[in-house]
């Protein structure tokens, strides 16, 4: 190599490394997808919530045990009739544009969620009748009916507060430059490339924020995402693969944070959605029970996920306080499956049109299910369907069994009501049972786990027998980061919170 060229390269390398050392501390986070619009009212995606965790604070937050803890609000109190919720706010909080985060701002933000055109928060806040400013640091929510999951809703996007001034000016373009009250403020976004945030100087909890900048980079390919972490291009990645855990643990420079997801993976059965529900699988609970009995949840976990995930049979994982211990996760029982099929008198093999949204892992799970149920007398025809198409086909009842994933909600209501109550939006199989309806509605009006869990137990009993949704397993949220990231704590919702995290 010519000396000049050599010198030039050396100089460039030096400049690059020197520049990095002198620059402010920037944490680079690899996302699995490109988030959608960054407007708390209009946003829909899980990955977007990861960005919001650094950008927009909420009235309340959750801790490791799923307890509601204060964030922008300090406390909440529900009236005896359950129809009034009074919220005390944290004093002295400022939005990124310097505007005060007070009761008027809370009223504005909540009303924006409830009335804005195209807002996805509207159903989440549908129990709220009106929002009243009591004093500058107190708001009162008047409810149409008692609704205990409301506070849990306020720990997520529905509880995110936006600067009224900025939001009024930007209208539906707010998402292009969101102004909230989170630890970091918006700097720039290049679609499919990066989202850059920088430290909010007036943040109420700034003593616990140790980064000057956060850069989110969507890297879809999981292998490449991990490669970026290994080569030091990224400091933290979300959604590592279960099959890569071994490699991450073996690498002394990497650390893994994991927690069982709030959601579940399961199979929705078409009970009464058009003609496809009129088959033996849809009509006879025994056939569905046979299908379930033929499945080895532990083996699925071992084969597809190296045994890293958690087999499950309910809408919440066995680690959740709401898990019903009276219904433990069953093992495989092919004989029972065969017996049930015999009792039901169906002609063997029972063909099942199994719609599977496309994805490498779901596909693999489907193939294993196909092989397992074949031994009991089912002939499962897998139909891998691109996600957008699968949504409309599920809606139209164009399936007998549908592999469905749910990201999960903090409150058990979010994992059950819209799936099992009659004519609810996620009830693709059109399952409808008045008793279940009544129980799920009753649980909504009661406060506290002691009061609600027994109600859910009754509903669980009916649903286990009817088998309208076959629950399979709960993923783990797998966050891998470099060993220089210190003090990272993983909350059960899987989001990445940077409070208290720093570089060593």
């Amino acid at each position: 190599m010519r000396p000049l060229l050599k010198a030039l390269i050396a100089a460039t390398c030096l400049a690059a490394s020197g520049g990095a050392a002198l620059s402010q501390s920037t944490i680079r986070i690899g996302l699995a997808e490109d988030p959608d619009v960054l407007d708390p009212s209009l946003a829909r995606t899980y990955v977007g919530r990861i960005v919001f965790a650094s950008l927009c604070d909420k009235l309340f937050d959750i801790d490791e045990k799923l307890n509601v803890v204060p964030q922008l609000a300090l406390s909440h109190a529900t009236s005896d009739d359950g129809k009034q919720v009074t919220i005390k706010l944290r004093p002295g909080v400022k939005f990124h544009d310097g505007e005060p985060m007070d009761a008027a701002a809370v009223k504005y933000s909540l009303e924006r969620h409830m009335t804005m055109q195209g807002s996805f928060r509207r159903p989440e806040l549908s129990s709220v009748d009106k929002v009243e400013v009591v004093d500058p640091l107190t708001v009162r929510l008047d409810l149409k009916a008692p609704f205990s999951p409301l506070i849990a809703q306020l720990t997520d996007r529905a509880g995110m507060m936006v600067s009224p001034k900025a939001a009024a000016e930007a209208g539906d373009k707010f998402g292009q430059k969101p102004i909230c009250a989170g630890p970091f403020k918006f700097v720039e976004r290049v679609q499919q490339d990066r989202i850059v945030l920088e430290k909010h100087a007036d943040y109420w909890n700034k003593a616990n924020i140790h980064f000057d900048r956060v850069v989110f980079q969507p890297i879809v390919d999981s292998t490449v995402r991990l490669a970026n972490l290994r080569s030091g291009q990224l400091d933290l990645i979300e959604r590592a693969l279960a099959t890569d855990i071994k490699e991450i643990r073996a690498n002394p420079k990497l650390k893994l944070a994991s927690v069982v997801e709030l959601g579940y993976q399961g199979v929705t059965m078409n009970i009464d959605n058009k003609d496809a529900g009129k088959t033996s699988l849809g009509q006879d609970p025994r056939v569905r029970q046979a299908f379930a009995a033929a499945i080895d949840r532990k083996a699925i976990n071992e084969v597809v996920f190296n045994g890293e995930f958690v087999p499950g049979n309910q809408w919440i994982s066995p680690e959740n306080p709401y898990f019903q211990q009276s219904f433990p996760v069953p093992g495989r029982d092919v004989e029972k499956a065969k017996k049930l099929l015999k009792e039901s008198g169906v002609k063997l093999p029972v063909t099942v049109d199994f719609m599977v949204p496309n994805g490498p892992e779901t596909r693999q799970v489907a193939e294993v299910i196909q092989a397992m149920t074949a031994e009991a007398g089912f002939d499962v025809k897998i139909r891998v369907t691109e996600f957008a198409t699968s949504l409309i086909q599920a809606e139209q009842g164009n399936y007998q069994a549908y592999m469905l994933a749910w990201s999960g909600r903090t409150d058990p209501d979010g994992n059950s009501f819209i799936f099992h109550a009659c004519n609810q939006p996620q009830n693709y199989g059109k399952y409808c049972n008045k008793d279940v309806d009544a129980l799920l509605t009753e649980a909504r009006a009661k406060n506290g786990i002691e009061a609600r869990k027994p109600i859910y137990e009754k509903a669980t009993k009916i649903l286990q027998e009817e088998g309208s949704v076959l629950y399979l397993y709960h993923r783990k949220v797998l966050i891998a980061h470099s060993d220089k990231v210190d003090g990272y704590r993983q909350m059960p919702d899987g989001l990445v919170r940077l409070t208290g995290t720093k570089f060593k």
């Binding site: 292998t223 099959t243 084969v303 490498p360 193939e367 196909q370 092989a371 691109e386």
Partner: protein, 294 residues
């Protein structure tokens, strides 16, 4: 080349040799083309007699043998649900070869007549076909294929149709260009002068002349089609599980490139060998069919 004594008596003079015979003689003389042909024939035999050749059932899973490296029992190793990769490669030849050949067949059946029509008729017919072809070529291949495959529904057959339709404009354009260049040659003029109908002229006089170019394009497109099936199955629009295609095998291997690299090696190699064989054969055919060359 090994010295083969040329038997002057058996060698037929060029003048009375039929074009097919001549092509075959020339093809035989090209070792690389012959190699391609032999490999393709072997692949076809493998696909047809897959049940007899494969050591295991290609869809039989063994959950205790997931992602095992190649061994004496499983020469190519096992896949992500414990199936024998060798058997899946052998059965996968069915899907992948037909994806290549049938979709190109569709493209030729649709594209060549349209190209002949455009080139021969000229005028507004040519204009409309030409602009439509340009427009289709300008829309990204994968987008067209995705839309068609999603519309038709996920299956291997529909993926072939989608790939075939998307590959059609290439053949229209090629045929039209070749038709234009031979249309005014003396022998075509002569055939027209003696009152041959256009279809007869097209089939008897124009088609043979454009065959070499068509062959080369077809072999190249077969390669593209096999890889396109891989892309479509990546999106869930190709071969449906549990049946294998090389493309879908390659795609499921992607997640395991670092901890089970053999899963990607075999389907990659299979695609590579197939594509290379079609290309070598295509090269040989072009030379063999070219009436101008010796």
């Amino acid at each position: 080349m090994t010295a083969v004594p040329v038997n002057a008596v058996q060698s037929v003079p060029d003048a009375i040799e039929s074009p097919g015979r001549r092509a075959w003689r020339r093809l035989k003389a090209r070792k690389s083309a012959l190699f391609g042909l032999v490999v393709i024939v072997l692949l076809v035999i493998m696909a047809v007699f897959a049940p007899q050749i494969a050591p295991y059932d290609p869809i039989k899973q063994s959950w205790t043998l997931v992602r095992k490296a190649p061994s004496a029992a499983y020469w190519f190793g096992t896949d992500e649900v414990g199936r024998d990769l060798l058997s899946r490669i052998i059965f996968g030849a069915r899907a992948s070869l037909s994806a290549g050949v049938i979709s190109v067949g569709i493209a030729i059946l649709a594209g060549v007549p349209l190209g002949l029509l455009a080139g021969y008729a000229g005028g507004w017919v040519d204009g409309v076909i030409g602009r439509l072809t340009d427009a289709m070529l300008a829309v990204p291949f994968l987008i067209l294929a995705i839309a068609l495959a999603a519309f038709l529904g996920p299956s291997l057959g529909n993926a072939m149709i989608a790939i075939g339709v998307t590959a059609t404009p290439i053949f229209v354009r090629l045929t039209r260009g070749q038709t234009l260049s031979v249309k005014n040659e003396d022998y075509v003029e002569a055939a027209r002068a003696v009152g041959n109908p256009p279809i007869r002229i097209a089939v008897r006089h124009i088609l043979p002349n454009i065959l070499p170019a068509l062959m080369v394009q077809a072999t190249l497109t077969i390669a593209t089609a096999i890889i396109a099936e891989a892309s479509l199955s990546f999106l869930g629009l190709g071969q449906q599980p549990p049946l294998p295609s090389w493309g879908s095998m390659l795609n499921s291997a992607q997640r395991f490139l670092s901890n089970a690299p053999w899963m990607a090696v075999w389907p990659g190699l299979a695609i590579f060998i197939t594509v290379i064989s079609f290309n070598l054969l295509g090269d040989g055919l072009r030379d063999a069919l070219d009436p101008r060359s010796k």
